[in-house]
Symmetry: C3
Subunit: 391 residues, 3 copies
């Protein structure tokens, strides 16, 4: 059996350092060939010190950031006509080391200084808009800490016979006297696959009860998000987050061209799922020739937020598909409405999310039809924010 | 004379880098053998960039953290039946680089994100609970800055004839227009000794007057802190910090078993000293077979705080023995009550603290008897907080 | 043509790492000899991780800090009697890595923790005193972010025939949803020149309008700033910033000896310029045998601040010559008075500043005479702060 495992990072053990490490079939053996995994540390600008793992499965390349909570930085698909970019172009020049992300800034918006990923987790104690106490002091900053916590342990496994590539990373979000949480993230792909499977285990390390939140902020920009792009989902219900979003409710799942000064619009959704509680959401381009979709379990991630931010490219034209344990409202509001996950002492919760790239019309259509089949009755589309869903 | 000195860190000079440095008798010569000193830089997780010196004197190993203000991270005693751990298991996975410790967080509690040491200094401008102004803005954060300031200079000396090992580190806590302080710390041990001697000089670098505070937060957990462990001290007076501590006053020096959700209790003490102004405080396990004690000068460190935090092991079961220039109340309160150390321009203050490990019943008993001899009259034990001592 | 270019820093490409890089005429060729450029990364204390470029043109050596926004750290002139230091001795032991500079501290004064440069830019979104909203929450911290943002790209060019040495650095100050600005800084000198030419381009990367501020905080201490040193300028108008400065208005351009506890005094000036809109300001020592001057365009930098801080040497005896787009008042105040630079989407602004060292009486006198010629009418010297200039 040609399976090999490398501990890339563990205490003083660090395969990211120096010139980094490059692993391919010549290191693994087995019948499967054509993949390459690299790990290295960045040196320049805001990226100084960022540890990065690039997994090229032969077709899909994805860059993972241990230093940023095992976020997926960007991906690329090796198409017939060259590389197809998956992710977005943030005005932030990342990947940004957490030392440059002022999470404790009084505004609660410091998280924005590091935001440029394809997939970043928001949590684990909280996510959503900044939350202040009565005196105006910040209680919970935007989208929480986990995206800016570094993994202390990273392990790579490659099976040279099946072509399965697995990257495990452990990240902790602990404060003495407060919550003690661990994320154990597994990212799995296979030779020449266009699919990434994420399995996250969130562990309450404490002997006492905890409440957590987790939201996957999955972000796409141009070229996928072209003028006329659409989100295809199977909503039971769609609610605009605020009055500004309500103005655009009629076209909530359509995207216009990038527009300088565009003010973001957010929609909150509950989605239908199949008998196994799985739902799927797709972003497809205007011509339906390219797409990306998410598959996940609505028992694990019952709420879905769609973030439309088709501002000018220079300012970060992007949409976020965001399955979560909650809506990204301030933590207190979500707590009041029961949208947190309770964890007994030493207990854990599991979250699975599959990200697929659809490189052609056939694949897009197939994904779209699967979603249409979930829509067993028409959605309720609200014209106004809902007091239980919208802070 | 076989004495050698290495500058481990000084500007661009850095013996921590790359694979680090290892120094033993083969580098020093002389008649004494069996010690080894290592210095290296950590790479993983919150420890990325932390410079660490491990001194093994043949019997006692102590890890010192230049990057965290020359804190003592952990120690271990090489007993007949294996290694005996000295320190505690914090839920924080350290040692934590200061870049990950948000001291300026509005709550004033950011210090907790880096707290996992056997001995960490709290100061130098202030220590104690967060202090806010009338508008609620943070003035002094929990336990001050010095524990999260990096040494700019580290020097090791070994005497191969006497077996004395000395580590000097210089750390500064300066802000333009505000206090300018330097800690020059000397940590000394000897071949096969179970004693660590710390001599700290705090220098006011300014031409103008300063006021400083210093508290040694010395922390022990399991196995020393087992159910039935006791603190042995020679108090003139014992005062519970608050009503919750007052509830436990009858057993202020006894420790129960670890208990999930245990709320910390703190006691403030003044201690008797001998003719040379030395006092001693001991923590011993339930059977009196292991202990650790502190010896220091009550003129330098007149106030003693005992922090009992026997929560679940996962949450950081620990007790703190904390000699200081003050009680860890907010800085303003302590200032009002005169518990700061004034320093004229360019003046300095000296603090000496000896930490001894007691690996057997005989040594524990000897330390205990020395303390009992100091207790020349019974302690005054208050049932309630004291308005002059407790904020 | 003997011209060579090195990319010192660009993504994973890093010539600062390991033992750094040294470049001299043997690498370049050409007729010009005697210069040497070094680049390396610092390891100790607050400087851990700071990338530094030292340019020695044969006569003048200047250290540039990519990690601190391309600041000029210090310079030195190779005089007949040894090295003459240009800069000042801050109580802060730098150069300080931005990870140790708490810009988001509620006081707004975190910038002071990193302040020790000969020349640091204040901006780009704002500079000046901290600015708070009505509830007391920090809106703009002291002197902005650019001085603590790291360059992501650094390029060195040397022309071996002309002896011209050019260092280009790019630094960004971007926050998603907020301003997106890039500084492209060019520092130019020539073999054996005592002149440094800085050309800064500030680019609005956004598609939407921005407003920026830029102030060059150019700082000199002892030996240039001796007792009796003077500033020579060509003011149209001089205004004391506050009542304390007003007390010293009669001697606004004279410096006394260093004095422990001296409280800083600041004067705001508008200066005369020549037909090409160039003005010059000189600091000369008491005997007029050494000096340093700034030349710049008053259309680009219409306001000038003189900061007198002749406190004890240990506390940072220093004066700041500060040409800017504005006075260093809180950002809101300056905005109200129109002292910001508007930039359309994708537009840029250019700033040029020349720093000359005058190593002898002749050169000082020449600079002084050039300034005297600009003074075509006597200055208006105000006895009190001006409500339009002084917050």
């Amino acid at each position: 059996m040609a399976q090999k495992t490398w501990t890339l990072l563990d205490g003083q053990h660090n395969l990211f350092g120096g010139d980094g490490v490059v692993i391919d079939a010549s290191d693994v053996g087995g019948s499967q060939q054509g993949y390459v995994i690299k790990a290295w540390t960045e040196h320049a600008g805001l990226s100084q010190g960022v540890q990065r793992v690039s997994i090229d499965n032969g077709t899909l390349t994805v860059d993972v950031l241990p230093t940023r909570g095992m976020s997926l930085w960007r991906a690329a698909y090796a198409g017939a006509n060259g590389e197809e970019f998956l992710g977005w172009k943030s005005p932030v020049r990342g990947p940004v080391h957490p030392a440059y992300v002022p999470l404790s800034e009084a505004s609660g918006l410091g998280w924005l200084d590091g935001f440029d990923e394809l997939l970043v987790r928001c949590g684990l104690e909280s996510n959503g808009a900044p939350d202040f106490d009565a005196s105006g002091q910040l209680k919970y900053s935007l989208h929480g800490r986990i995206g800016n916590r570094p993994a202390h342990f990273v392990q790579l496994s490659v099976d040279g016979d099946t072509g399965e590539i697995t990257l495990i990373g452990e990240v902790e979000e602990c404060r003495f006297h407060f919550l003690k949480l661990r994320l154990r993230s597994t990212i799995r792909t296979r030779l020449n696959s266009n699919i990434l499977e994420i399995t996250d285990e969130v562990i309450n390390l404490s002997a006492s009860r905890a409440e957590i939140q987790l939201l996957y902020h999955v972000n796409f920009g141009i070229p996928l998000l072209d003028a006329g792009a659409q989100v295809v989902a199977a909503p039971q219900r769609v609610v605009p987050r605020n009055d500004h979003a309500a103005e655009g409710i009629a076209s909530w799942h359509h995207f216009g061209a990038e527009t300088a000064g565009f003010a973001e619009q957010v929609y909150f959704l509950e989605l239908f799922a199949d008998g196994q509680h799985k739902t799927r959401t797709l972003l497809k381009n205007a011509h339906g020739t390219r797409g990306a979709s998410l598959v996940y379990d609505t028992r694990q991630l019952p709420y879905f937020s769609l973030w439309k931010n088709t501002t000018a490219v220079e300012d970060g034209c992007v949409t976020g598909l965001e399955p979560g344990t909650n809506f990204p409202n301030p933590r207190s509001f979500e707590g009041t409405h029961g949208r947190t996950v309770p964890l007994k002492g030493r207990a854990s919760a599991r979250f699975e999310l599959t990200l697929a790239y659809h490189p052609d019309e056939e694949s897009v259509t197939e994904a779209e039809q699967a979603i249409r089949r979930l829509q067993t009755s028409p959605p309720q589309v609200a014209n106004r924010p809902d007091a239980n869903w919208c802070a």
